[in-house]
């Protein structure tokens, strides 16, 4: 299980956890006290991140693509999600 927390300066907390198998992401879970509009977008973002290769470029592509569709994030920037996922990738708890 890869997990990480990122406290956005002047913003909110993002928590990431996922499994890595053959460098592929699964069971992506993004939690935190940020605000996302519409709220259901979070499940969509997680869905899009599952199954992809845990490469920074690919992750960023998915995230930017997602936010370009009009989802609004309050308390973080799209990049913060990328940062948090990469932070999680580089740590491992169990």
């Amino acid at each position: 299980m890869h997990e990480a927390e990122l406290k956005v300066i002047g913003g909110k907390l993002i928590r990431i956890s996922f499994l890595l198998e053959d460098n592929k992401i699964s069971n992506m879970k993004i939690t935190g006290d940020f605000f996302l509009y519409p709220e259901e977008g979070i499940e969509e973002l997680e869905r899009r991140l599952n199954g992809i290769e845990a490469k920074p470029k690919k992750i960023q592509e998915i995230i930017i693509g997602f936010f370009n569709e009009g989802f609004v994030i309050i308390g973080a920037k799209p990049n913060d999600f990328t940062k948090a996922i990469l932070l999680a990738k580089n740590t491992r708890s169990s």
């Binding site: 927390e5 990122l6 406290k7 300066i9 002047g10 913003g11 909110k12 907390l13 928590r15 879970k29 993004i30 939690t31 935190g32 006290d33 940020f34 605000f35 996302l36 509009y37 519409p38 709220e39 979070i42 609004v72 309050i74 308390g75």
Partner: protein, 265 residues
């Protein structure tokens, strides 16, 4: 002191005031959502609602995970309800004896609501700031969604916009048992990493502390009501939920009680 001038009143927008109610957690959330639905259908007018939570409860934001935010065992032992909100934001302990919650439901396109979400938090929170001023408290809006007094948080707020309707709800701490709050909630170290003072009691405050006196919930209710009226330039008239809202709330309550909703992430 209030000067009532009949000319003034005619120019203001008429809103509905619901309050000061006491319900359990799931019903409180169900009512908020029911009002939104009925508002969207054009059945009810702009509404501000004030309520308390009985039994005391903890609500987590839409994007949070119960296990990460709440001491589940402690809540079970103390019979504190756990629910998930439809709004984002953080985990909040709603102490029956300690805080008052408001919700505001209005058309997203209403002239007093900026389209920009950050700005709209400020506009609505300014109503609370004005209300607190009536109580003799100098508070400030602190972006993104807090109200602070000398840097200590006294109010947290969360907003959602759905089907053209805006719901913002938030709390004002009146006399909270801060140590209980921090037994209920798991506080992440990361969250306080960029704060100079680690002592939890220095981060939040409540009206009783600030005013150095006992204060009745009704007095806070009235002051916040006045604050909204002055700040948003509206006129609040007390009324009840409609039967439709009540019935819908009973239905929606099931969702908030459903474990698959509460533990969805």
């Amino acid at each position: 002191m209030r000067i009532v001038n009949k000319k003034e009143k005619n120019q203001k927008d008429n809103w509905r005031l619901l309050g000061l109610e006491v319900n359990n957690a799931s019903m409180n959330m169900a009512i908020d959502e029911a009002i939104m639905h009925c508002y969207a259908k054009g059945e009810v007018q702009n509404t501000i609602r004030f309520y308390r939570w009985h039994p005391s409860a903890v609500s987590i934001g839409y994007f949070q995970s119960v296990e990460e935010e709440v001491n589940i065992d402690f809540c079970r032992k103390m019979q504190i309800d756990i629910i998930r909100r439809i709004t984002g934001g953080g985990a909040v302990y709603h102490d029956y004896n300690g805080e008052i919650t408001y919700s505001l439901i209005v058309d997203e396109k209403n002239q007093i609501i900026p389209a920009d979400i950050l700005k709209s938090y400020e506009v609505i929170c300014k109503g609370l700031v004005a209300g607190l001023r009536d109580l003799g408290v100098e508070a400030k809006f602190s972006p993104i969604n807090d109200i602070v007094i000398k840097g200590k948080k006294i109010s947290g707020n969360a907003q959602t916009r759905r089907y053209g309707v805006l719901l913002q709800h938030g709390t004002v701490l009146i006399d909270s048992n801060i140590s209980k709050m921090f037994n209920v909630l798991r506080i992440s170290n990361e969250k306080i990493s960029d704060k100079i003072i680690k002592n939890i009691e220095d981060r939040v405050t409540n009206l009783r502390r600030v005013l150095h006196r006992k204060i009745e919930f009704e007095e806070v209710f009235f002051a916040l009501k006045s604050g909204f009226e002055k700040s948003l330039q509206i006129s609040l008239k007390e009324d009840d939920l409609t039967d439709n809202e009540r019935q819908l709330a009973f239905q929606l309550e099931k969702k908030f009680l459903d474990k698959s909703w509460i533990f969805r992430r």
